[in-house]
């Protein structure tokens, strides 16, 4: 189990060139664990949000003494990717069980609901995003960071190393494009 991941380890992976791929499973596990923890807070009175999870995972996983801004950005990038996987996986699994009545709702249900409230089916969105990635990878990345990772425009710009304006333009364009593609096919 990856539950015992040490902050130092993640930080080391961040700093090691090309270790981002190794990092993803760790972050993924931590995010799931955090989401799980929300089960204990039934009366929390708020909806779990990706931003909260990602930032909290950052606090937990990163050795703050050695991590700098750069590490943080890289981490946010990875975390957004992990969040996307978690949410899409969950939406997919839920779709498969649609007829069953779950004994209790999971915290991820709320998140998926909230996202689908604004953006239709996450599984389809994910597929469309993969298409977008083929044609315009940076735009797909902006969507991943902003929509799934909950990053602000500033944070997204920092992660990608582009200007805020570029992020805004990519975001507007990608939204229109995705909206078009999602309203097309069933």
């Amino acid at each position: 189990m990856l539950g015992g991941t040490q902050p130092g380890e993640v930080t080391r992976l961040l700093t090691a060139a090309g270790a981002v791929d190794d990092l993803l499973p760790l972050v993924y596990a931590e995010l799931r664990k955090l989401a799980q923890a929300y089960l204990q807070e039934e009366d929390a009175g708020h909806t779990l949000q990706a931003t909260a999870l990602v930032h909290e995972a950052y606090l937990k996983l990163i050795d703050q003494r050695t991590a700098g801004w750069h590490d943080r950005q890289q981490f946010l990038g990875v975390a957004a990717q992990a969040m996307r996987r978690i949410l899409v996986d969950h939406a997919r699994a839920r779709g498969a069980l649609k007829r069953g009545s779950p004994a209790r709702r999971l915290p991820l249900d709320d998140m998926v609901d909230q996202l689908e409230h604004s953006a239709t089916d996450l599984v389809r969105l994910d597929a469309a995003l993969q298409d977008l990635n083929e044609i315009a990878p940076q735009k797909a990345r902006v969507v991943e960071l902003r929509f799934f990772g909950g990053l602000s425009v500033d944070e997204t710009a920092a992660v990608l190393g582009v200007s805020k304006r570029t992020v805004e333009r990519d975001w507007t364009f990608a939204k229109a494009w995705l909206h078009a593609n999602l309203s097309e096919s069933p």
């Binding site: 801004w69 909950g150 602000s152 078009a180």
Partner: protein, 887 residues
């Protein structure tokens, strides 16, 4: 949709968006000939317009500014929205009008929805509690309600509107308030916070942005307890604020809040935040500069680092105000003001020129905090602590105190840059360590001590990284090297000490020019290190250079500087045996300083002069001077202070050398009693008194008791500083000599076995450590005691060789080893060489540690033994006459 020709589609899409919505189609037709491209762009434009809040829910999780503006003119509950006042981490604040009663209110619409019914119930309950807060300095909450936005239940608060509101800090700055006026407003704020606390409500988010001041100067705290209602845990705080915003809030968060444990919060967390607000209100800066760091690094800083000094930003703020702020900012809640009212009362006391209740943290406490913050260094520091404690002669320490101040000032000067700030911290760390150790023992000759491995390693590492870490900052480098040098010196790593101090000197010369006062300080530092090493001639040369610079420096530097350098020069001359010049210079230095009887530097000259007189055998004058020094110290630090014990021991040694053993013993016992009270039974300081006592008991003929005392001391040192510390060697040496003199063969054999074991254990220590020669000396003495002088001889010769190299030929410890060899050669009947060694070394030992020091008396005894063995009774008699009569 299929999209190709992105390179054309995308720019057109963005350009079209710049056009008014209605004209986009027409604009597009004129912008491109390519029908396919135009179609694709048009499709995307349509999608854009119909997308609405597509994908926006999670991204913003709250109304954005644009949406907030759209609210204008609409209603929320009973309130007509007029305009946006501001946006915060938790929501958007509007100016709004209430119909009945007709009044302007502020409406804060939260950035969240209330999902579960239980959450709604709690919101209602908690906001009811907030409504009970009635205080002129708290913006009253009129109503808390929910506003339906589509399917969402959005909570809002309606509260007192503060006209022409400015934040506390902005108000103080714009109105150019005096410190007094700022404090007066601050007291009102504290009282309001206290009112909230009495109603059971913690603010949780106190910061200038939440403390408004209206046009009349009346403060109004807003958002009291709102954080609690809205944010049951930290994840939500994080969710609703950007990282930058959060760091801004973090500045005011107490260490326990930084731990993100909501349960750990109490009213004292607000007291902490008030401390930060006061800090900022007074100097415009924050106690921790975390603006450029990552979120969690900021949190760690707040949890662990020491706040910056208020007085470093503005000299006027030193003293009581700084003490008050520091107390509010204590990391442990138990050490803070226990309520906002306590804080307010202390500020008022300050305003009324009454003594404040807060006390600066004691040096001991600061040291403890320091150590606990740097656990890995603990062992090393503990060892340094001991060495310094026992080693430091008055000379070094009293003069050092003035030096420390100078160094702090120097560092503060350099602290204009970021790296310098770091250097300053590192420096304060070391300097702070020393200042918390004072007062150290005066009037003590340098004892045979050494370093510990770990401390040396630590320092070596520091020394290596300094040039790299503070590249381009020569003065910072120099300051750190100076500090390092003095630490090395105190650990008796003289080579390293002089190397570091030489580097510091060169850096300063290059940066400031050869005749800058700071260069003269640097010369003195190096001179002292050389003097400790026994290189008197070189030390004298440096002191004279320093004096020369100081003579020409302007006031106010000249007088104090010349006096200090004169004192140092005098002490070197004393050590070289030029007592006449030493005495003249000491008196001159005292005259220069005598404007202030209590001047600590004066004390230093007095003790130096006292040494000189003692060496000249002018006991009465030495005693008189020691008594005066004792009186000054007692007046300054109190009768039962640590400083007073140092002066007591000093006087005791003068009396001992004068032959007044009974009085000397009394004084040693008095010092012992005080130190036991202050420091405890088994403190190394306390043990040091036992050493003095053992010496006197032994000289007075009570060797049983002396042995018991030495064994007691040995046990203390072993548990407190470790088995192979130099202090242990020194004590073993005294014990060994005592056992040999008593011809206690069993005791000698047991100790010999121990010495052999020690020899094995210290093998790993670096060559230049004094422990090596100490161990050789010990083994040699024990071998002589075992009637095997032939085996002892090579060991003692090697010991002398090492000491000549590591210290200097002139050092009294070298002389002491020569004296031992003399004794050994007597046993081997090599009388000629023995005589030369003994006659030469005895005065050196006697003059440094005092004629009636046990060890000096043994050195004398060895001369007598030589002449007895040699069959020269007249010579023996001549020296025997010098022995004290035991009373």
């Amino acid at each position: 949709m299929k999209t190709d020709q992105w390179d054309k589609v995308e720019p057109l899409f963005h350009a079209a968006l710049e056009q008014p919505t209605a004209e986009r189609g027409q604009w597009l037709a004129g912008a491109t000939d390519d029908a396919s491209v135009a179609r694709q762009v048009q499709r995307l434009l349509n999608e854009h317009e119909t997308a609405g809040s597509f994908m926006e829910a999670e991204v913003h999780g709250a109304p954005e500014v644009s949406r907030a503006a759209e609210m204008e003119g609409t209603r929320i509950g009973a309130y007509q929205i007029v305009r946006v006042i501001g946006h915060g981490g938790m929501g958007t604040v509007y100016e709004a009008v209430q119909e009945n009663p007709r009044r302007t209110v502020a409406v804060k619409v939260m950035r969240m929805e209330l999902g579960a019914p239980s959450a709604l119930r709690r919101f209602q309950y908690e906001s009811e509690v907030l409504g009970r807060l009635l205080h002129p300095a708290i913006a009253q909450i009129y109503e808390a309600g929910t506003h339906r936005e589509g399917a969402l239940m959005i909570p809002f608060f309606a509260m007192e509107f503060v006209p022409a509101a400015r934040t506390l800090t902005a108000f103080a700055q714009a109105e150019q308030l005096s410190i007094r006026q700022r404090l007066e407003i601050f007291v009102k704020v504290c009282d309001a916070v206290y009112h909230g606390h009495q109603k059971g409500i913690i603010h949780r988010d106190l910061k200038p942005a939440n403390i408004l001041v209206d046009a009349s100067g009346q403060p109004k705290i807003i958002d009291f307890g709102v954080a609690r209602v809205m944010q049951p845990d930290v994840a939500v705080t994080l969710a609703h604020s950007g990282a930058r915003e959060l760091v801004g809030t973090l500045q005011y968060m107490s260490p326990e809040q930084c731990d993100f444990d909501p349960a750990a919060l109490d009213t004292r967390s607000d007291v902490y935040a008030l401390g930060v607000v006061l800090f900022e209100l007074l100097c415009g800066k924050l106690p921790y500069d975390v603006s450029k760091t990552s979120l969690s690094h900021a949190a760690q800083t707040i949890r662990e680092a020491a706040p910056r000094r208020l007085s470093a930003t503005d000299r006027r703020l030193r003293g009581d105000l700084e003490t008050i702020v520091l107390k509010a900012l204590e990391k442990e809640r138990e050490r803070r003001y226990q309520s906002a009212a306590d804080l307010a009362r202390d500020v008022e006391r300050y305003l009324h020129n009454q003594p404040i209740e807060a006390r600066p943290a004691s040096p001991a406490y600061q040291l403890r905090k320091l150590v606990s913050r740097h656990k890995p260094l603990f062992a090393a520091l503990a060892a340094m602590f001991i060495s310094i404690t026992v080693l430091a002669a008055t000379m070094t320490v009293l003069y050092g105190r003035a030096e420390l101040n100078r160094r702090r000032a120097e560092a503060a000067e350099a602290a204009k840059r970021d790296e310098a700030e770091k250097a300053n911290q590192a420096l304060n760390y070391l300097v702070g360590l020393f200042s918390s150790l004072e007062p150290a023992a005066p009037a003590e000759a340098v004892e045979p001590l050494g370093s510990t491995f770990t401390a040396r390693e630590l320092l070596d590492r520091e020394a290596r990284t300094i040039p790299q870490k503070f590249k381009g900052l020569p003065l910072v480098q120099a300051t750190l090297l100076s500090t390092l040098g003095s630490v090395y010196g105190r650990l008796e790593l003289f080579e390293r000490a002089t190397a570091a101090l030489r580097s510091a000197l060169e850096l300063r010369r290059a940066a400031l020019g050869p005749r800058h006062p700071v260069v003269s300080d640097s010369l003195c530092e190096l001179g002292r290190a050389l003097q400790h090493k026994g290189e008197y001639a070189e030390a004298e040369r440096l002191y004279r250079q320093a004096l020369d610079i100081r003579h020409q420096a302007g006031e106010p530097y000249a007088t104090a500087g010349v006096a200090a350098a004169t004192g140092l020069l005098a002490d070197t001359l004393r050590a070289r045996g030029d007592l006449e010049s030493a005495e003249r210079l000491f008196r001159e230095a005292i005259r220069m300083q005598s404007g202030d009887e209590d001047d600590p530097r004066n004390l230093y000259m007095m003790v130096g002069l006292c040494f000189t007189l003692r060496m000249e055998g002018r006991w009465a004058e030495a005693e008189q001077l020691s008594r005066r020094a004792l009186a000054i110290v007692q007046r300054q630090s109190g009768d039962r202070s640590a400083a007073a014990t140092d002066a007591l021991l000093n006087l005791g040694r003068v009396l001992r050398d004068a032959g007044a053993y009974a009085d000397a013993e009394l004084l040693a016992r008095e010092a012992l009693t005080i130190r036991r009270e202050l420091l405890g039974e088994d403190h190394p300081y306390t043990a040091r008194c036992l050493v003095d006592l053992a010496g006197i008991r032994s000289v007075r003929g009570n060797q049983d008791e002396a042995e018991t005392l030495y064994r007691q001391v040995l046990a203390i040192f072993r548990t407190r500083v470790g088995d192979d510390h130099a202090l242990v060697f020194a004590t073993l040496q005294s014990l060994a000599e005592l056992l040999v003199a008593r011809q206690d063969r069993a005791g000698v054999d047991a100790l010999y076995a121990e010495a052999l074991a020690l020899q094995q254990r210290i093998k790993g220590l670096p060559e230049d450590n004094l422990q090596h020669s100490g161990c050789l000396l010990l083994t040699g003495v024990l071998l002589v005691g075992r009637d095997d002088p032939a085996a002892a001889e090579p060991l003692l010769r090697e010991c002398i060789e090492r000491r000549r190299r590591v210290l200097s030929p002139d050092h009294w410890l070298t002389a002491y080893a020569e004296n031992m060899l003399g004794g050994c050669l007597t046993a081997l009947q090599h009388f000629d060489e023995a005589e030369a060694l003994l006659i030469r070394s005895y005065p050196r030992v006697r003059d440094t540690i005092g004629r009636h020091d046990e060890r000096a008396l043994r050195a004398l005894q060895r001369i007598i033994d030589l002449y007895d063995a040699w069959g020269r009774p007249a010579d023996a008699e001549r020296y025997r006459a010098l022995l004290p009569r035991t009373d």
